[in-house]
Symmetry: C2
Subunit: 259 residues, 2 copies
């Protein structure tokens, strides 16, 4: 293993999360680590950027071989300041975003700040991996995510020169003992959407408030080539992500309709 490699690390659960600390240890196995992570929880921040406020960065304690910065911006802001400021002279060999507390499979890829940062990182020509565990608990067991994350990182670094860019992988690890995971499956994003059930209540001043809760509605639970199927069947799901959102089929349907 070439220990001179440089890994850029970020996430959306903040630099204080257990998953982030697991990612630091994992990334250090591959080389030096520079991490810029949100200074507070930024889950569900998607590809959000901070336009109207100044942002502050501070160095925090890190194990040997790692530099860790807490940043007041969104996960995507973390990736942007990394590549356009910190890495002005030296490009990392890999972007690792995570390890996320909670799955980012299916349409969650769009809401996730962890995947937002992973996607943003891939825009700079560097292979990028968003690594998530299907467990939201603050003290979740990351052993399986670390074990399979290690394999996938090694495979991506080994093949990096032969693969096209942008290269971004959405990796989701099932919630079970590491030994019970059945392997890795290349998958596609499951079709389906969330349906919300807003929790409505009154605050101490008597004002109505709403709190977002909901459930993912899988539109194709039987489809074995999807990331949700992989997770449900104790496989690690790997979905390559692209960002051309053009609906080419709809483009044909609209000929003569929109004019």
């Amino acid at each position: 293993m070439d220990k001179k490699r440089l890994i850029f690390l970020t996430n959306d659960d903040s630099y204080l999360s257990k998953g982030f600390r697991a990612a630091v240890e994992l990334a250090l196995e591959f080389g030096r680590v520079v991490a810029i992570a949100p200074d507070r929880v930024q889950s569900g921040m998607s590809q959000a950027i901070t336009i109207n406020n100044p942002l502050f960065i501070r160095k925090v304690e890190a194990p040997e071989g790692a530099e860790i910065y807490a940043f007041s911006g969104t996960p995507v802001d973390c990736a942007k300041i990394a590549f356009d400021h910190i890495f002005a002279t030296e490009k990392p060999d890999l972007v690792l975003s995570g390890i996320n507390h909670g799955s980012n499979a299916a349409i969650n890829v769009m809401y996730s700040g962890t995947m937002g940062a992973a996607i943003e990182g891939s825009f700079y020509g560097v292979p990028s991996i968003g690594l998530s565990l299907d467990d939201h608990a603050a003290d979740a067991d990351f052993e399986g995510a670390v074990r399979y994350g290690r394999d996938i990182i090694a495979q991506v670094l080994e093949a990096a020169d032969r693969l096209p860019r942008p290269l971004c992988l959405n990796v989701n690890v099932p919630r079970c003992a590491a030994d019970e995971i059945r392997g890795i499956r290349l998958s596609r994003q499951t079709r389906g959407f969330w349906r919300e059930d807003f929790y409505a209540h009154k605050d101490p001043q008597g004002r109505d408030y709403f709190w977002l809760t909901g459930a993912f509605q899988n539109a194709e639970p039987e489809a074995e080539d999807t990331d949700e199927w992989a997770l449900a069947n104790r496989y690690v799901a790997v979905v390559p992500v692209q960002t051309d959102m053009t609906d080419y089929r709809m483009l044909s349907s609209l000929e003569g309709v929109i004019k």
Copy 2:
């Protein structure tokens, strides 16, 4: 025109923006309007959702035929509470998000809160249009956006029964006099990414701060089928948007590499 239609309206520049007020007037030409818009500027909020905070809604003044609510959530939260709470018994005929101050062409579709809400709205089976003007000014001239927005809304409503779902259009209007616009072009999302130039300075306490600025790098400025080309040539660009982010070509490239 069937004036009994119901239009759901939202945006990311808040219910106070000039573009939003122009959209209320435009939507009222087609029927009743229920608007839920952020109570403060939420530009660049992408598909972000609010997980960790309660949200508050309040009714604000509106012209006859319209109900307008200011909501403390993100643009996507606005769409979610509309469809999962307000519209529990009655579905709107159209989602209109905008009119946005600033273009959401090319990769901006991913960062935009206005497009985040438009995309989210399309998840509920209702035709959805994100309408943006290529002018960030608070007092921008929305005449061209209103004129072409009106044509596109009419065409979508007319063809709605024949078009598949989800149906989401990213409509961007060039910054020029309405009479100088040369027409509407069905387009695809331009390839290219932003490169940032962080503005770095010291605050009054002597702390370093960073402020995001940057420029879009068009990777294919000559491609006449792109939304950026349309805007640059004074056409209204219409890009249908989909949310399967799977990179199917990469999926093939990864066979035997990730295992």
